[in-house]
């Protein structure tokens, strides 16, 4: 029997989309060429973060954060959901002024945001070096372990009568059908949630792989209390510089410290670039000197699916084919909201927020 929807890609975005569809009563078939979370989902940081601007990013990230809060109550322990919040760090006065404006903006929206002076910062996060201009604490942000969340969502899809097929490589995703080594499969609608690989199966999608490095340490419980991100991160994420690094350090529930981040467009070069990794680490150490002496267990590379305007593609690409891909560094954050928006769009319902900025067919040109 023909499924109502085929979702291509069992990363967190595909899983959340399938979950949203299944909850609306659709019979969903999820096709994954490798293993669930085997792509960007398994390589990333698991940060669930609200972005204050631009406005459209605020709308979708805050919508998604609300969904994450609801989901948190149901997630099993292995998802390691942690409401530790994000501490944005200002290095200089310019960034401090920016932080102040951000705090005002959050308050104006009725959301919690706490400005921290250098003294307060030292109490709040003792491992930070002295001499920072201040910080902005957003308590609503979370950290999760994405592969476990993906698994949970896929289990929910299956519990609702859906199906997950692993080792099913789609070669072409088109309107109401997919082609692969398995032959041809039809559905009421197809959703391409293949992330950085989405353009391989749907020609013309404006998504490029944006390489990032990460490093994880052994367990050092209590060293850091919050996810730490430098305000300069925003410049890195929204820019298109050759190889940029920005401090993004996350204590995991295990006590391990995940150190990031780097961004560069070098195609699919999955080799670790020692120079970039070194700069990334230097940046992190410049904020948290104690990181220097920690044992590193592993370092690796991942590819963020990046669109020219850094916003995901959500919605119909052509008749019978929708896209849920291109989330750059916000894949984890936006998975629930993207799933809901796409599920609404393909079932003819109105999404909870204005989804037109994310229209998959919007005019986009890669820099």
């Amino acid at each position: 029997m023909k499924p109502d929807a085929i979702v291509v890609g069992a990363g967190i975005v595909g899983a959340a989309c399938a979950d949203s569809l299944a909850r609306r009563g659709l019979r969903v078939l999820v096709l994954e060429r490798g293993i669930p979370s085997g792509g960007t989902t398994g390589a990333g940081m698991g940060h669930v973060v609200v972005m204050e601007n631009p406005e459209v990013e605020f709308q979708i990230t805050s919508y998604s954060l609300r969904l994450w809060r609801e989901l948190a109550a149901e997630l099993p322990p292995d998802c390691e959901d942690d409401g530790c919040g994000t501490l944005w760090l200002a290095e200089d006065d310019e960034e401090w002024q920016h932080a102040r404006m951000q705090a005002d903006a959050f308050h104006a929206r009725g959301l919690e945001a706490e400005l921290l002076s250098p003294r307060a910062l030292a109490d709040f996060e003792p491992a930070l070096r002295a001499g920072l201009a201040g910080g902005l604490y957003l308590p609503a942000d979370r950290v999760v372990y994405p592969p476990a969340v993906t698994r949970f969502l896929l289990d929910r899809v299956i519990a609702r009568g859906g199906e997950l097929r692993l080792g099913a490589e789609v070669r072409e995703a088109g309107g109401r059908e997919v082609l692969g080594a398995f032959g041809r499969l039809e559905a009421g609608v197809v959703i391409n949630a293949a992330g950085a690989w989405a353009p391989e199966i749907t020609k013309g999608l404006p998504i490029e792989p944006r390489k990032g490095h990460l490093v994880i340490t052994d367990r050092y419980p209590g060293l850091l209390r919050h996810q730490l991100v430098e305000l300069g991160y925003l410049k890195s994420a929204h820019g298109n510089a050759a190889a940029s690094v920005a401090m993004n350090v996350q204590p995991r529930r295990t006590g391990q410290i995940l150190i990031g981040s780097s961004r560069e467009f070098v195609g699919w070069n999955a080799q670790i670039d020692r120079g970039v990794r070194a700069r990334m680490i230097q940046r992190a150490v410049s904020f948290v000197p104690a990181l220097s002496g920690l044992n590193v267990l592993r370092s690796w590379v991942g590819f963020r699916p990046a669109t020219p305007d850094k916003l995901p593609l959500l919605g119909f690409w052509e008749d019978g084919l929708a896209i849920d891909a291109g989330h750059e560094g916000l894949g984890i954050t936006l998975a629930p909201a993207s799933g809901e928006i796409v599920a609404d769009l393909v079932t003819g319902a109105r999404p909870a927020i204005d989804s037109s900025p994310f229209d998959a067919r919007r005019s986009l040109v890669h820099a």
Binding site: G38, D218, R274, V285, L294, L297
Partner: protein, 480 residues
């Protein structure tokens, strides 16, 4: 210079501190491998967390002078590496031997103070050869893009070493298989027990049960007996019939037969049970009793130490990282010991588990090949003969299927992350298991659970991600 001080691990052992740490779910843990692979013996030393007590040698810290380039780099200071570095240097190449331990010898020639008899002439020759020996040096990364360089951690200082020829002699470590109670303190490896004795741990009067497989069982039982331990019994999982065949074939290697006979003599009053294995270890905070299964019956035995190990597995992290072809769990090399990567040679246990004689010969062949020296036919013949011995060894001590069924759902499989058997679905791929349970994602980087999972579920190691051994963040801050 002779140094008789025991390792920190041995010191703690002698003080009766068998539990050195608590696992992440609160289990008391002590050393297992005692040779730097398992990370179970980690302690906080001088404010620094996760220091392996077995690697803290009594001698003062080394500050090796490591050159930025050499003609021949040798990684691993066991017999293969010692022979390779010696012969390469003797043939005029600027040679650097990089070894993680406090002094060369690897596992089989591990010593403090006086070196074992077999090792002495080689160590003297190494000292005279002109090869530079860097001890306390951990190779944690290597370039893979055409450039020829290694990244070495010297206890906090990182050095990049360029080479023209590379000889990998990274040796082997023990294979551990999970069974109920295997994580109790004083359950150590067979090689682990050997390493403990050699590092200065006192076994006088300790009641020891040995189990597992391989000639190492007998050698270590004899060593422990000489060290004053009361070896209660030795359990070899291989059946008597296979051992008899192997014994008969041993007759073709007179020296090895002599070894075997010497061991048997040393243990003449110790029960040696074939076709037997430990099914369970029990105790409060440490092993106090073991249940043995042999000839269809189970027996309980009270003991102080259980030393159990199931053969050796090669250390393939560096060869894999360099892209050397690995086949059936060993590095593939040609007649000259060269791997699939040009100018990268491999010798010793990473080619086949065959012990010191094979390692020495292969190390020499690799050095001659790397320096363009002639390789005498006699050497090749000797190597091939040793290889046949290694093959016989493998067949004789093949693991019996019952060993797959020892773990219960509650048994810990991954000791770093405390992942129990019930959390792992055999239907998964290795990668799925890692993502879902974090098995193999701890400080031992899969060195303990990896071979176990391969035996249990057929999962082979996938891609290697640097650093190849844990190093500090600081070591990675240095730009390449």
């Amino acid at each position: 210079m002779r140094d008789e001080r025991p390792s920190l691990l041995a010191e703690r052992w002698n003080r009766g501190d068998h539990a050195l740490r608590e696992s992440i779910t609160g289990e008391p843990r002590g050393a297992l491998c005692a040779m730097g692979s398992c990370f179970e013996c980690r302690v906080t030393l001088d404010g620094l967390a996760h220091v392996r007590a077995c690697m803290v040698d009594g001698s003062p810290p080394l500050h090796a002078e490591v050159p930025a380039r050499c003609e021949v780099a040798v990684v691993g200071g066991g017999p293969a590496g010692i022979a390779a570095a010696t012969v390469a240097a003797e043939h005029g190449a600027t040679t650097l031997l990089l070894d993680e331990s406090a002094r060369p010898g690897g596992q089989i020639w591990r010593h403090r103070g006086e070196a074992p008899k077999d090792a002495r002439s080689w160590l003297d020759r190494l000292a005279r050869s002109g090869a530079k020996v860097a001890s306390g040096a951990t190779v944690f990364d290597a370039t893979t893009d055409g450039e020829r360089a290694l990244f070495v951690d010297l206890g906090g200082r990182t050095v990049k070493v360029a080479f023209e020829q590379l000889i990998l002699a990274t040796g082997a470590r023990e294979r551990f298989l999970p069974f109920p109670g295997w994580t109790l303190p004083n359950v150590v490896g067979v090689g682990g027990a050997q390493a403990l004795v050699k590092a200065g741990a006192d076994f006088t009067g300790r009641r020891v049960v040995l189990g597992g497989t391989g000639p190492l069982l007998l050698a270590v039982a004899a060593l422990l007996t000489r060290a004053g331990a009361e070896v209660l019994c030795v359990l070899e999982q291989a059946p008597a019939s296979r051992l008899a065949q192997f014994g008969w074939q041993l007759a073709r290697s007179p020296r090895r037969l002599l070894d075997a006979m010497r061991y048997r003599l040393a243990l003449s009053s110790t029960p040696y049970l074939t076709g037997g294995y430990v099914v369970r270890a029990e105790g409060d905070g440490r092993v106090e009793e073991v249940i043995l299964r042999a000839r269809g019956g189970d027996t309980r035995l009270r003991c102080d130490v259980l030393a159990v190990g199931f053969g050796l597995v090669p250390n393939l992290e560096l060869p894999r990282h360099l892209g050397c072809t690995v086949s059936e769990g060993f590095v593939t090399v040609d007649q000259r010991q060269e791997t699939s990567r040009a100018s990268v040679f491999c010798a010793g246990e990473t080619i086949a588990i065959g012990g010191a004689p094979a390692a020495l010969i292969q190390g020499e062949i690799a050095a001659r090949a790397a320096t363009g020296a002639e390789i005498p036919r006699a050497l090749l013949t000797a190597r091939d003969r040793e290889r046949r011995f290694a093959d016989r060894l493998k067949r004789a001590f093949d693991l019996r299927p019952e060993l797959r069924a020892l773990a219960t759902p509650d048994t810990i499989i991954c000791r770093c992350e405390d992942v129990r058997a019930r959390a792992i679905d055999p239907a998964w791929s290795a990668r799925q298991a890692k993502l879902y349970t974090r098995v193999g994602m701890g400080p031992c980087q899969g060195r303990v659970c990896g071979p176990a999972l391969e035996f249990l579920h057929g999962w082979s190691a996938d891609s290697v991600r640097p650093p190849l051994k844990p190093v500090t963040t600081h070591a990675l801050e240095v730009e390449a």
